[in-house]
């Protein structure tokens, strides 16, 4: 095989494309293309600039860290502010209520054995037997559970756990959905509540506690934490009660009533009282009689709100005993 000479290859290539003839309108097509290119140059450049600007903006947005990527410390559970104030024992420090505010006005309610004192809860572990005194209030349990973080207001601000159900279940004071245990200490005047939430025991000194213990847990305000009604004493046919409320973790306080009202039920001569738990209200009936049979009844409706007990309404009626249904009983949950 002889190699192809360059000159011969050039000749062959030239001859091969020699028949190729340009189209007659080629120049017109080129000029049209040039005009088209001129016409589209400005819009194309504008569109290109806009696309570039959009890409740069997208890149900036993509690169810039979004606020959602920042680490945010979880906030503490909200504290339900209340203005409830517990009556203070002279010489004692303010008792924190649900609002975290110290006890302000000294509330007293007439009637012996009524809830006229607001002793402070002293919570100790079950193994602890540390005595508590009303004069040394302790607002927080001695061993707070590790799962509870300090509230935003500080360590002194009480906080309520989140209830599992509203209203609270049977005998559920701390809102965990399980019944809590109420008992009396050996001294006979200290109420002990063992919370099922953390097995802490709260000790509440009361003026007296009837034996055997007569109590009921009723979620009057439907906030998921049951209120505890405890019979403190019985004298001459009149039973006196104390109403306790769960104000913060492992802490309960005795609620004060407005002046002139007492939690008692029964008839003694021409004077009679009674109480009834309603929907978010507590009704206290006070009756007077001249003959011991026909009573003029003044029913005071107390609203149980986060702020405490407040007088909402007063109504008068007449009841003749024993023919009419007596309002002078304690009709509240298991109490009757």
């Amino acid at each position: 095989m002889s190699a192809l000479e360059p000159d011969e290859l050039a000749r062959l290539l030239s001859e091969a494309v020699e028949p190729v003839r340009p189209s007659p309108d080629a120049y017109r097509r080129i000029q049209a293309g040039v005009a088209r290119r001129r016409r589209w140059r400005l819009p194309a450049y504008t569109a290109g600039g806009m696309v570039m600007a959009a890409l740069i903006a997208l890149a900036v947005v993509a690169i810039r860290p979004s606020p959602s990527n920042q680490v945010v410390e979880p906030a503490a559970p909200p504290v339900m502010p209340t203005n409830y104030t517990a009556p203070a024992v002279p010489g004692t420090a303010p008792v924190p209520g649900r609002s975290g505010q110290g006890g302000g006005t000294a509330g007293t309610s007439g009637g012996a054995g009524s809830a006229s004192h607001a002793p402070t809860t002293t919570v100790t572990p079950r193994s602890s037997v540390a005595a508590s005194t009303p004069t040394t209030p302790t607002a927080s349990p001695s061993q707070p559970p590790a799962s509870v973080s300090p509230p935003p207001g500080g360590l002194d601000s009480p906080q309520l756990p989140t209830p599992t159900a509203k209203p609270a279940g049977v005998n559920d004071i701390d809102g965990d959905g399980r019944p809590d245990t109420v008992g009396v200490a050996a001294d006979g005047t200290t109420l002990q509540i063992e919370f099922s939430r953390d097995n802490q025991v709260a000790k509440i000194p009361l003026p007296a506690i009837s034996a055997p213990l007569n109590s009921a847990v009723v979620d009057i305000d439907g906030d998921g934490f049951g209120e505890l009604l405890v019979q403190t004493r019985a004298s001459n046919g009149v039973k006196s009660y104390a109403l306790l409320r769960y104000v913060s973790l492992d802490q309960v306080v005795v609620m004060a009533l407005p002046d002139g009202l007492a939690l008692s039920a029964g008839v003694r001569g021409n004077v009679a009282t009674g109480l009834r738990c309603g929907d978010h209200v507590l009704q206290i009936a006070s009756g007077t009689s001249t003959d011991g049979s026909q009573f003029t009844v003044t029913t005071t409706t107390l609203d149980l709100t986060v702020d405490g007990l407040s007088s909402a309404d007063t109504a008068s009626s007449t009841v003749r005993l024993p023919t009419d249904t007596s309002p002078f009983v304690a009709s509240c949950g298991a109490l009757s």
Binding site: S2, L13, E15, A16, P19, P22, G33, V34
Partner: protein, 185 residues
């Protein structure tokens, strides 16, 4: 990257300068068309397989050169730039049509004139066919060296490779074509 000497970005011009450049570009376009259009179409015809497509490639190259005329520093090398644009566009076209070329190769539609004999037709078809069977680089090197009559350096500049590579491609292509066209000589 293929680089043509004298092709550099230049500073922006004023409106009056732009008008002058546009007039120059129009005049240069006309001159380049008159002198080189036919040869460039034939060059493209050796690189591609469709005369219509060759014309489109060459016309597109002219339009691009016209658009870039203001940025062309050395106007004397406009032909080199035009030729390189034709080669690059032919490459792009071939790349797009690679599958079609492999599976349905069509012979070069040679619009033969009436005075050409049957033997010439066979010879042309054989040369085109043999050229088309070469690898792209070898085909480009052979066409640029022996049809466009370019030096090895110019061919290397257009192809975007070294002179040594052009020599190798040309040698291999020439050898392959010798074998394929043996019967015609």
């Amino acid at each position: 990257m293929t680089v043509v000497e004298g092709w550099r970005p230049v500073p922006a011009r004023s409106d009056a300068a732009r008008s002058d450049v546009a007039r120059d570009a129009d005049a240069a376009l006309t001159a380049l068309y008159s002198e080189h259009y036919r040869s460039l179409v034939r060059l493209a015809a050796l690189l591609l397989d469709d005369v219509g497509l060759c014309e489109e490639v060459v016309q597109d190259a002219y339009i691009r050169v016209h658009g870039a005329w203001g940025r062309l520093q050395d106007r004397d090398k406009a032909l080199a730039y035009l030729r390189q644009t034709v080669v690059n566009l032919a490459r792009s076209t071939l790349r797009r049509r690679l599958v079609a070329l492999k599976h349905a190769p069509k012979p070069m539609p040679d619009a033969a004139s009436a005075e050409e004999g049957a033997y010439s037709l066979v010879e042309r078809a054989a040369v085109i066919q043999a050229l088309r069977e070469l690898p792209r680089r070898q085909r480009e090197a052979v066409v640029l060296r022996y049809y466009a009559d370019m030096s090895e350096a110019d061919a290397a500049a257009v192809m975007g490779c070294s002179v040594g590579s052009v020599k190798a491609y040309t040698s291999r292509g020439l050898s392959a074509l010798s074998g394929k066209l043996e019967g015609l000589r």
